[in-house]
Symmetry: C2
Subunit: 202 residues, 2 copies
């Protein structure tokens, strides 16, 4: 197990409906040490790549994206989920289907802050069905900028979103890829590791 | 002018309805250098205080709070605006009146992550009418924890929220306090500085 997988097993929990809770260090209470560690990991994996901007989507991706941008010494841009930016007029927007709410949501980025020539690293905390990531790549495409790749903390490999994004030609680097988890059996299995680990339920 | 006031004058803009836009470095595109500079400023102003946690509210406060927590080497917790946490059952919630939408919103924090004994520094990007800040202090009070103080990037002094929070006995440290701004005249004035500065309109 790597540092993030270890932390998931130690402090994560499964709840009914096979939901992985990592509220204790990733997306509610933020452990700044592991966040910095993940940022360094993205920097290492994308070493040698020219990156001008980090892009994420509000809200839970912001801390990780901010730390990664700090590490790379480039600005960080976050897409907004509400249309308050609309009042500015000049925005890129993309559809993002929500399986949870079974409807299309939209995300927005001001045209002013994404330009042709930008080399973009997309960062997010979770990758499940890939809809949010694809919406972000669509916004980069609209701007005439280039996606260098994606950096994800936790990919739910069994939901197929990562493969969907990779099949479209994007590089996706996920620190922990979950191949299987089961709240009934209290277990989790990571890609590249045949062991099955016990994890708490809540 | 201090570093943040200079940046507001240089890259901020006023739009009709006396709205200050700082999307270019503070709450859409994030300049990591000025964010780190602000985090260091909060660290300096609260030097000697014992702080165990940084608390903010999603979404635009997260980057600044994350950088401040990194500087202080403590965890960062962000209150959520949607009740998705409700499914966890154990939450603190507080009302937060929105003047924009003229209704009560609620913010949520999981009880698990805020405890009696916590010494909390509340961080946010903007302070206007003070409703969000008061809701955050209310959540800290519910947890039996203590508010050490608040660190704000931009306080709209003329809206009175900062005074309201200070009158309740909380320490509020704002890096830039705007005493006056006027989109028609393209001007802005900061607290403690008699000069009037020209600012762009959009």
């Amino acid at each position: 197990m790597n540092f993030l997988e270890e932390r998931i097993v130690k402090d994560g929990a499964l709840k009914e409906g096979n939901i992985l809770k990592v509220n204790g260090f990733l997306n509610h209470l933020i452990d700044v040490d592991i966040t910095r560690h993940m940022a360094l990991e993205f920097q290492n994996r994308y070493r040698g790549e020219y990156i001008t901007k980090v892009l994420t989507i509000e809200a839970s991706g912001i801390a990780l994206a901010c730390m990664t941008a700090t590490q790379l010494n480039v600005p960080m841009l976050f897409a907004k989920k509400s249309a308050s930016l609309n009042v500015d007029g000049d925005i890129y927007s993309a559809k993002c289907y929500s399986f949870t709410h079974q409807k299309d949501n939209h995300i927005f980025v001001s045209k002013r802050y994404l330009e042709p020539g930008d080399k973009v690293l997309i960062i997010d905390d979770f990758l499940a069905n890939g809809q949010a990531l694809l919406a972000l790549t669509d916004i980069v495409r609209q701007a005439g900028a280039e996606v260098v790749g994606c950096g994800i903390a936790i990919e739910k490999g069994y939901q197929g979103g990562g493969d969907l994004v990779r099949e479209k030609g994007y590089r996706v680097e996920s620190i922990a890829i979950i191949d299987e988890m089961d709240a009934d059996r209290h277990i989790i299995r990571f890609k590249g590791d045949d062991n099955i680990y016990t994890i708490n339920n809540i």
